[in-house]
Amino acid sequence: MQIQHDVSGDVAVLHLQGKIMGGPDATSLHEKLHELIDNGTLSVVVDLQGVAWMNSSGLGILIGGLSALRKSGGDLRLARVTEKIEEVLKITKLDRVFDIYSNTEDAVASYKS
């Protein structure tokens, strides 16, 4: 899996590409999120347009990042969620836990409102 890291003001935007299934891909996302948290980033958007699907390992990493950020007063928001990931989020009721946006611009802007 590839991770492209952009910054928009105080918001870190991670564009993910590939599958997140619990191998080295999952480790790199986990490390990236914790690197951001350790550096004091509070506002994160994860852009999932390039991720066809993820399993519970991927969800667990996103939830871990979300919990750590919310504990520090921040948040992790999702953008451009693909169809299969949306289905998996609904199955696990995580669609009620994450704030989900149809594009990255709206997700970034949501931190300013």
Partner: protein, 135 residues
């Protein structure tokens, strides 16, 4: 016509990637729809993760066996570990409010939701998960 494919992997993290690649290759060859292929691949990774982590406790001397049985109507996948089994009744419901933000515990729920028929059989010599998907 019936085709059987069986592979065995050591309980390492790369078993997940190998099993997913195999499931992807088989479902592509069967010309299953994109959405059905994703369902099968996700379910396979969930079952293999459970087998190597919770079943075999990441012990590299223990194996996970995956078997694909394909006929004209269905693909039937069996994932078996060499662990000591577990109490199915003790598995927490990941949909309860107090469990919603836990980082794990969703694998079986996802498997049951994406596949047409799922049977989990824990025993003292290992757990077997049988998952069936209509083609």
């Amino acid at each position: 016509m019936k085709t059987d494919i069986e592979k065995r992997y050591r309980s390492r993290q790369d078993a997940v990637v190998k099993a997913e690649r195999l499931a992807d290759k088989i479902t592509k060859k069967l010309q299953m729809s994109e959405t059905v292929r994703m369902d099968v691949c996700i379910a396979v990774t969930e079952a293999v993760i459970n087998a190597i982590q919770h079943g075999n406790h990441m012990r590299v001397d223990k194996y996970v066996t995956i078997r694909f049985e394909i006929n004209d109507r269905t693909i039937r996948i069996t994932v078996r570990d060499q662990g000591e089994g577990f109490d199915l009744g003790a598995v927490e419901n990941p949909l309860l409010p107090e469990n919603l933000t836990k980082p794990n515990g969703r694998g079986l729920l996802i498997v049951r939701s994406l596949m047409d028929d799922v049977e989990v059989s824990p025993s003292a010599t290992g757990t077997e998960v049988v998952m069936v998907k209509k083609r």
